[in-house]
C-alpha cells in the first residue's frame, strides 16, 4: 500500500490487550487520516462521557507523514473534550508522528483505563504496556527525558494526571499546542506516556512526481511574506503576529474589555529575539521551523501564550510571560485556556493576576489546589461559580484565542461554527482578514463570510486529515497538496475532492455534537462582543458586533451547510449514509 500503512494498533488499557488490525481501505480513502480518520473512528463512542473508560483516545497520522511532503510529519489526537463536551482533535508535530508511522501504523486506538500508571511502548512491530508508577507525578520534561532513549514521547504532566480540564498532551521536541483537555482524558486512563520508535519507510507511488510537487510547494513558501518573509514566522515564529494584531486593534486585553495594549511591544517578535537570541526549532522535516528556543533549549511562547499571559491579563513583563509558558509546558497545560481562565477570574475578583503571581497560580492549577482547584475547571465553570457567567470569554466553553472577534467578523462567525468550540484554526480567517492570503477580505464586513467560512472549514478539515501544518497554507494551496497526495498514494485527488472529504469530516463532527445536545444556542459569542465596542483609534473604528447581522450570517451558514435553522441535522440518519 502506498502512503498509508493500512494498520491500526488497538490498546485496551483495562485488560492490557494490544493488537494490530487492518484499516478498511474504503475508510482510509473516505477520511484520509489524521483528524478525518480519527473523527470517523469515534463513531459509536461519541456520546460517551469523556472520562468513561470506553472513550477512545486516538492518535492518527496522515498519508503524507514520512514522505518529503513539507510540514506533513504531524498527527491528530482525537477524543471527546472534557472541557467542552464537543468532539475534539488536536494537531501535533515534533518527531513522534513519523516514528509512529515508522512503526507501521496509521493510528493508535486506546480505550479502557489502567489500574496503575502505565507507559505504552511501541518499538517497530512490538508494543507493550510498561508500569509507570515512578513517572507518575513527574513533569513533562522529566517524563520525556526518562523515556527518550526508547524513542519519541507523547506525555502528560501533573495537570493531565490531576484531571485539569484544559490539560494537554505534550509531544517531545516542545510541541504541545493542544486545546480541549485531552491530557485529562489520557490521565484518567492512567496512561502517562506513549513512547514510539519505528524506522520503516513509507512506500511512494511516484517519487519523481512528489519531488516536483515538493518544489512547487517550496516555491510558494518562499514567495509568501508570512512564511519566509524577513518579518515572517520562519524568522520570528508566531510572535511575528504580536505587533500586527495590536496595530489592527484586535488584541484581547484585560479579558476582552479592550482591544489594544500599548505594552505589547515588550513581547513582540523582535523584542524576544533581542532578549533571548532565539534559535530555530520545529517539527521533523519542516522547512519553516517556526518554533523558537533560547540557546539553552527553553521553548519560547507562541503568539497565543504571549498575548494571553500578556495583554489579556495586563502583563507586559516578558520574562514573566516566558516563565508562565514554561510552567505550562512542564505541567502539561493549555496556555490559551490557562491565560484566559486567569483573566476571567481576575475580572471577577476585580484584579488581574500580577506577573509575580502567575507561577504560583499556574502551579496550583496543575495540582488542583488552593485557587487552582477552581481555576482547573476552565473559565466557563469559574465564571458560573463566581455568579457571573458572562465573564467567560469562550464559545462552547473553549476559551477564545488572541484575536478579538470585533476586529474580524469572519473570525466572529468561525469561533461559533467551530466544532471544538471557540477556535481560530478550524477556518483560520486570520489568513484573509488580516494576513491577506490568498486575497484580502474586508474584516469589518459579514458579506460573503458564511460561504468563505464554510469553504475554509472544509479545506482545513482536509488539511488536518492530510496532517499538513496550517501555516503551509499561507503560501501553498490544496492544489499542490492534492498533487503530493496523488503522487504518494497513486490515487488521484483534486482540491475539490479533498474539500469534499473535509466537508464529510466537518459534518460528522457536527453530527456528534448535535447528538450531545449542541445547537444554535451554543453557536454564540459571549455577550460582551455584542454590547461593548473595542478600542478604536489610529483611524480604526472597532464597534460592537451587530447581533442581528451576525445571526443573519449564521443562518446563511446553516443553509449553506444544509442544516436546520437550529443548526441541527434534518436527517437523523446522516451518519449511516456516510462511509
Amino acid at each position: 500500500m502506498y502512503g498509508w500503512t493500512g494498520k491500526i494498533l488497538k490498546v485496551d488499557l483495562t485488560t492490557g490487550r494490544i493488537w494490530r488490525e487492518s484499516l478498511p481501505v474504503e475508510l482510509i480513502h473516505a477520511y484520509l487520516g489524521g483528524r478525518g480518520l480519527g473523527v470517523r473512528l469515534m463513531r459509536g463512542f461519541h456520546t460517551l462521557d469523556p472520562f468513561a473508560p470506553d472513550m477512545p483516545l486516538i492518535f492518527s497520522v496522515g498519508p503524507l507523514c514520512g514522505t518529503a511532503a513539507p510540514t506533513t510529519a504531524r498527527l491528530a489526537v482525537v477524543s471527546r473534550s472534557p472541557l467542552t463536551g464537543t468532539i475534539c482533535d488536536c494537531s501535533y508535530g515534533g518527531h513522534f508522528p513519523w516514528r509512529l508511522k515508522g512503526a507501521g501504523l496509521d493510528a493508535l486506538f486506546i480505550t479502557g483505563a489502567s489500574s496503575q500508571p502505565v507507559v505504552l511502548s511501541i518499538r517497530g512491530d512490538k508494543a507493550e504496556l510498561v508500569p509507570a508508577d515512578a513517572l507518575w507525578g513527574n513533569t513533562v520534561p522529566e517524563t520525556i527525558a526518562s523515556l527518550a532513549d526508547a524513542g519519541s514521547v507523547a506525555a502528560i504532566g501533573p495537570a493531565g494526571e490531576n484531571g485539569v480540564l484544559f490539560a494537554n498532551i505534550m509531544m517531545g521536541e516542545g510541541n504541545g499546542s493542544g486545546r480541549g483537555g485531552l491530557g485529562a482524558v489520557m490521565g484518567r486512563k492512567r496512561l502517562k506516556a506513549v513512547v514510539v520508535n519505528g524506522d520503516r519507510t513509507v512506500l511512494i507511488a511516484d517519487r519523481q512526481r512528489i519531488e516536483h510537487a515538493c518544489h512547487d510547494v517550496m516555491r510558494l513558501f518562499r514567495a509568501s511574506p508570512i512564511i519566509f518573509g524577513e518579518l515572517g514566522i520562519a524568522e520570528y515564529g508566531t510572535p511575528a503576529l504580536v505587533d500586527l494584531v495590536n496595530q489592527r486593534r484586535m488584541v484581547p486585553t484585560e479579558n476582552f474589555r479592550r482591544t489594544f495594549f500599548t505594552e505589547s511591544r515588550n513581547y513582540s517578535g523582535p523584542a524576544i529575539r533581542r532578549e533571548y537570541g532565539t534559535q530555530k526549532g520545529g517539527c521533523y522535516g519542516c522547512p519553516i521551523q517556526c518554533l523558537k528556543m533560547t540557546p539553552r533549549g527553553e521553548y519560547l511562547p507562541e503568539y497565543e501564550a504571549l498575548s494571553h499571559f500578556g495583554a489579556l491579563n495586563g502583563i507586559s513583563n516578558l520574562s514573566a510571560i516566558v516563565r508562565a509558558n514554561t510552567i505550562c509546558n512542564e505541567l502539561g497545560l493549555d496556555a490559551v485556556s490557562a491565560g484566559a481562565t486567569l483573566s476571567a477570574w481576575g475580572e471577577g475578583r476585580g484584579r488581574f493576576p500580577t506577573a509575580d503571581e502567575l507561577p504560583g497560580l499556574l502551579t496550583d492549577i496543575g495540582h488542583r489546589r488552593e485557587d487552582g482547584a477552581l481555576l482547573a475547571l476552565g473559565s466557563r465553570r469559574v465564571a458560573e461559580q463566581l455568579g457571573n457567567p458572562d465573564l467567560s470569554m469562550s464559545v462552547k466553553s473553549l476559551e477564545l484565542p488572541a484575536y478579538d472577534p470585533r476586529g474580524a467578523y469572519g473570525m466572529a462567525l468561525a469561533y461559533c461554527t467551530s466544532n471544538r468550540g471557540g477556535c481560530h484554526l478550524r477556518a483560520y480567517p486570520l489568513s484573509h482578514e488580516i494576513l491577506r492570503k490568498p486575497v484580502a477580505t474586508d474584516r469589518f464586513s459579514f458579506s460573503g463570510k458564511a460561504r468563505i467560512i464554510k469553504i475554509a472549514e472544509d479545506t482545513n478539515a482536509a488539511v488536518d486529515s492530510l496532517m499538513a501544518c496550517t501555516f503551509s497554507f499561507l503560501g501553498a494551496t490544496l492544489e499542490e497538496y492534492a498533487e503530493l497526495l496523488s503522487a504518494t498514494t497513486g490515487f488521484e485527488y483534486s482540491p475539490q475532492s479533498l474539500r469534499e472529504i473535509g466537508e464529510r469530516t466537518y459534518l460528522t463532527e457536527r453530527f456528534y455534537n448535535c447528538a450531545n445536545g449542541f445547537s444554535v444556542a451554543d453557536d454564540r459569542l459571549p455577550e460582551r462582543f455584542y454590547a461593548e465596542p473595542g478600542s478604536s483609534g489610529d483611524g480604526i473604528e472597532v464597534p460592537a458586533i451587530d447581533r442581528a447581522r451576525f445571526d443573519e450570517e449564521l443562518q446563511k451558514y446553516y443553509r449553506i451547510r444544509g442544516l436546520t435553522p437550529q443548526g441541527t441535522f434534518a436527517d437523523p440518519g446522516y451518519l449511516e449514509k456516510s462511509p
Partner: protein, 386 residues
Amino acid sequence: MYDQIAKYTNKLIADRSAVHGWVAFAAQDDRLLTSGEPQLARLAGDVLGRLDALGLVAARPSLPFADFIVQRTSADESFIIPRDTETRTFLHDIPFIRSDEFATDGPKLLARLLGNRKGVIVEGVGIVAVGAVTVEQAYINYSSVFHATFVKYLQDLLTGGFLLDGEREAFDGFRNDWLRPLGAEGLRFRSGPLTEPAVILSEVATVGRYTVECGLVDSFFGNISCRSDDMIYISQTAASLDELDGCIDPVPFAATSTTGITASSELAAHRRIYETTDARVILHGHPKFSVVMSMQCEREDCEITDCWRDCPHVRVLGETPVVAGEIGAGGLAKRVPPVIGESGRALVYGHGVFTTGRQDFAEAFQSMVEVENWCRHEYFRRLAER
C-alpha cells in the same frame, strides 16, 4: 455581491483583458447568483454550482491568443505550461478544453478541471477562472491566465512563427490597434525627496494607479515602495497597484517591528536595494514584453535547466541587466540589488522589471516605460527577422 461583480466586470473592461459585453460572473453565498452576458452567465452559474468556491468569471479575452495556443497545440495535449513566473509559481499549468470536447459535456468537464486548477481556457468561449473565497480572486486568476497566455503566445511566435490561417492578420491587428504607445506624458509626479508620511502614502498610491492606467502592468502584478529616513513605505502583499489606499505598510528599516509582515513578498529585495544603492523609490511590475524578452536567452550549450532559479549569468537587454531569481526568498533579493545600482533598472527572468528613482517616482516610472518600450521594439524586430 453584485457590487463586487460590477467592480470586477468594469476592471476587466478597463484593463482591456476582456471584450466588452462578453463578461459574466457567478457568485454564491447561501444562494447562487449570476450576472453578465446571458450565455456566459448560464455557464458560469452551472459550473460554480458544482464547485465548493465563492466566485467564478467567464469572459472572452480581448485577444485571440489563448485560442491560438490551443489550436497550435498537438491533439494529444490537454494543458499548456507557460514559462512566466506567475504561471510557474501560482498556476503550474493551464488546462484547456477544445470546442468539440466542450460541446459534449462542457460544464461538467469544466467544473472538474476547475476543481483542480485556478483557470481554464475553453476554445471558442474564453477564459474561465474560479475564486475560492472572493469574486476578486476569480478576477485575479482570470488576469493571471490572460497574462500567461499573452506571454506564451508571443514566445511561441518567436520560436514557431505563424502557423494558423488568420493568425498573422490577427496579430497585425493586435500590434496596430490593440497595443497603445506607452509613455509618462501628462502624468504628474511629486518632486522628491519625499519625506512626509502622508505625502509618501498619497504618491505611492498615485503612481501605483498610473502604472495600471497607462497599461504598463496589470493591477495585481507588482509592488512599489518609497524610503524615508528610517522607514520603508511599501505596498502590501496581494494589493492591487491601482487600489493602494490603505494598503501600504510602513516598515521600520531596522527590524524593530513585525507589523510589516503583510508587506509585499519583495520587501527583502526593496530593502537591499535601498541598502546598496542611492535609490529613494522603487517600482516593480510585470510589463508583458519585458517578461517575454527576459526569457529570450541565446546562450548555447548551457547546462542550466532551471533558468528562473539557477542562472548565475547577467545578460543585458538594451541597457538593462537581466538576472535570475524567484519571488520573495527565492533568490531575487540577492541577485537584483548588485546589478540595479548603475542604471536604476533590472529585469528578472520570466518575472518583470525593477526600476529605481534617486529622488522621486518620475525617474522610476520613466525607466520602466523605457525598458518596456525597448523590449517591445526588440520583440517585433526579432519576430520580423525570424
